[in-house]
Symmetry: C2
Subunit: 257 residues, 2 copies
Amino acid sequence: MSAEMGHLAIVGLGPGAAEWITPEATHTLAAVSDLVGYAPYLARLPERSGQHRHASDNREELVRARLALELPAKGRHVAVLSGGDPGVCAMAAAVFEAIEAGEARWRELEVTVVPGLTAMQAAAARIGAPLGHDFCAISLSANLKPWALIEKRLRAASEADFVIALYNPASKARPDRIGNAFSCLRTGKAGTTPVIFARAIGRADERITITRLDRADPALADMATLVIIGSSETRVIDRPGSAPPFVYTPRSYGARP
Amino acid sequence: MSAEMGHLAIVGLGPGAAEWITPEATHTLAAVSDLVGYAPYLARLPERSGQHRHASDNREELVRARLALELPAKGRHVAVLSGGDPGVCAMAAAVFEAIEAGEARWRELEVTVVPGLTAMQAAAARIGAPLGHDFCAISLSANLKPWALIEKRLRAASEADFVIALYNPASKARPDRIGNAFSCLRTGKAGTTPVIFARAIGRADERITITRLDRADPALADMATLVIIGSSETRVIDRPGSAPPFVYTPRSYGARP
């Protein structure tokens, strides 16, 4: 690799709040020459003189990835922005897909993934510890995989009594996905299973709803929502007065504390 | 609740590196009157005059949780330390177990969970994006749940073709757990499935091994190791020279890029 070669960092901004951006992410973003990202993510960052910004549409993940891979050959030091953790239902997989399918010289690039908090962690922290024991994360987006596979994974997760975190529960084109997922899960999980809708956690319009599987309203999930469905062990601890309950999954199984 | 009541924060220190501790965690740790934690976690933090430290053994999670719950009634502001993310195979579940089983007044406490990066995110970031699509996290610790349940979850995760992250793959008392898990997974996953052993990520003695399921050596896993096993889609991108490969799981399923 030539001495003039730049490098590429894929940087996780976390779920929305500045207090959740790691020092590694902050330092990386301050040091690069170019920022590549979805416009609302770019808008979260301070303008820096001499730093170039390349904004794109959220649906253009592979376009963004390829742009980010072209720039280091010109000696640029590039950060691709990702919401949450780039490694969890986010930008990193798109960049590596582009590398695998793309030009041989892209494999020579220095690529760093800067991890960040992902939506399910922030959502869980707000209400207790629902992911406190074995869990699955499943994306309901059926753009790139068959819905039959999603149903198979939901059934397997239900039968083995995992806690389940659902990413991409709804989109404008397919608002019914989360309803279909609830129908699928109701055949395996009890109606009393706790369900959490966590919307825009860490942002000004944050909203959390705690309900149960037989009462879960699909309309509560939009594109900014993360949904958590408990295991048979997940518990709700009621609290006095107007305090919201704690929801958590114990480490033990089959033995009430 | 009386005006003199303190509060309790359960704080995630991340997987080991200071650059991964969130600003929220740093601010919380600086503001409390009492730190409660496993001694090596306490040793990572700067001494502060007037701040009390309560060190305990790592096996005494419930003892530590109860101590942390007693202190706020005396007006103390307490942080319980957790490695990684308190909400993922860590301290938060132990604290909520103690609250549920404990004194009624503990339910009145203000409890904050401060999320942190967890080991699987740090491990994944080091090598690419193996958790880039649907995955499970399973603890192999059988102290509090039957091994039969762990096997059931491993088989379900394998049959539904999840990527799998294994926490607590070995202990001094049970060094064979990870070997048993590999045996279980080999009945459902191909021998060529990528396996990653990630030890002490973010610490001075960090070590990563990338291998495949039919060659995975259980002896590579100790108490400080996180093991990731790919799905049928997880790919290894070889790179020129001595550069380590990238390992990632694409967003698409059943269609090579």
